[in-house]
Symmetry: C2
Subunit: 277 residues, 2 copies
């Protein structure tokens, strides 16, 4: 495994993150997970726009322009023999090393790391459950950023697994539906596609955003709106979306069984796979 780290390819076994890196000490950074198909990064421009917006919100400088990041991603894929196949890419941006304390140094030198992995295997439809130990925090801007702090998500997935499920659905602090452990949540009710808006404590996923654009072209009406947990009982289909997993049907939420995939989910999946991105 070879990593791209601060401008150079390095063997992962030798690559060093500084123990004073604020990404390590304080979760002071962001990441993007991307899918490469045939050596091409899917919806790259959107990922980079989100990264740049998040970096701006945190005040983290991003020295490379989009072309340079695209080249670094390509270089990483090729260095790992994934220049032509499918791969999972993770780009990590942190504020870099700093002295003790919360306040960043004025001369921070951000850390930028890219790693490439084999694509995870396609998983069967999700067995999901609403978890209770953690909640999405719609009162914080960080709930709409892909920050490094994923402890809530990890605990959510562990709670789901402990109860015999393999995906977690998280409520927000107001008790409304927010998202899955590392994916966005969609319901289909009476033929209409429903998903909570970012203001509900939801990361604006790249695949989510593209699905909301594709649905109208398929004459599938869609609404971004707050969803009470009871919306699940009224839904005929459910799926989660992510950049790596694309669309994953949900076959069960708690005790409610759902067709997986249902007809609307199947049409959206086909449209997404055919989308040049």
């Amino acid at each position: 495994l070879r990593l791209w780290l601060d401008g150079a390819l390095v063997d992962a076994a030798a690559a060093r993150i500084d123990p004073a890196d604020r990404g390590f000490l304080l979760g002071d950074g962001l990441f993007e997970t991307m899918r490469a198909d045939g050596g091409r990064v899917v919806r790259l421009a959107r990922h980079l726009a989100r990264l740049r917006q998040g970096a701006g919100a945190l005040g983290i400088g991003l020295a490379l322009d989009d072309d340079a990041i695209a080249r670094a991603l390509e270089t990483t894929l090729e260095a790992n023999g994934q220049g032509r196949g499918g791969a999972a890419l993770r780009l990590t941006l942190t504020r870099g090393p700093g002295p003790r304390g919360l306040l960043p140094p004025s001369d921070a030198s951000p850390t930028l790391m890219i790693a490439a992995f084999a694509l995870p295997p396609l998983r069967p439809p999700a067995q999901a459950v609403i978890v209770r130990g953690v909640a999405r925090n719609q009162g914080s801007i960080t709930s709409r950023l892909k920050g490094l702090g994923y402890l809530d998500n990890i605990l959510a997935l562990r709670e789901a697994q402990a109860g015999g499920s393999d995906e977690a659905l998280l409520l927000n602090a107001a008790g409304r539906l927010a998202c899955a452990s590392a994916a966005n949540l969609f319901l289909v009710a009476d033929g209409r596609l429903l998903t909570p808006p970012p203001e509900e404590g939801v990361l604006p996923g790249i695949t989510r955003g593209r699905l909301l654009e594709l649905a109208p072209t398929l004459r599938i009406a869609c609404s971004e709106r707050p969803l009470e947990p009871g919306a699940i009982d009224a839904a005929q289909e459910a799926f989660v979306s992510s950049s790596l997993g694309l669309v994953r049907p949900v076959a069960r939420i708690g005790s409610r069984l759902l067709p997986a995939p249902g007809p609307v989910t199947a049409r959206l999946t086909a449209a997404l796979l055919a989308d040049p991105g």
Copy 2:
């Protein structure tokens, strides 16, 4: 600077955090910040109990017993010439390296790092403001754990600073008072000490806990209870508490000026400084 890292002292300039460490990638870990006075770690047993409880909640193994951790802290202090003076210690525990994805490997090998720093200088009374961009998430167990994800806290302090203050007060998702950027919040109203309980999205600070024990011995009544922001208007004193800063009076919250320190704050500060811990 020499660090204690996974069982050995290493030069910070050479110490390496694995780029696959889940602390770095996902904030999957905990930390403790401790104060050493005269080479002795203040309230060490309480810090280690909290660390152990948090590690249990996350399912992170902690191979060392309390005595071994105490020796590692002492070794780190001595290696940095702080064996007899005052120092700030930071212990970081992560789940260690793992493959891509949220789920921890079953054979995770946790990372344990200890760093020692000079004590930060005593700061003047805080100029505080209630920030709006972030909120404490009382719906998540992680709001009561000292997890690595401090992005909300960083953004809170940046927001305060941008507005000309030097400390941030955070509300929780229900709009009630929670804490400061990296400290607990206390108000004094009609001679009574008030602070929100952990259920409000508050880290149960070690100094906070000790203050709640000391107050009754000084015949200062105290209550842990939810506090609306309006409680500030009814308060005659306010201070924040932390393991490094101990008690820091608050001289201003928004436009409200307060005596800093007020008489109750002064008595509690004196009691805390005299406390063997």
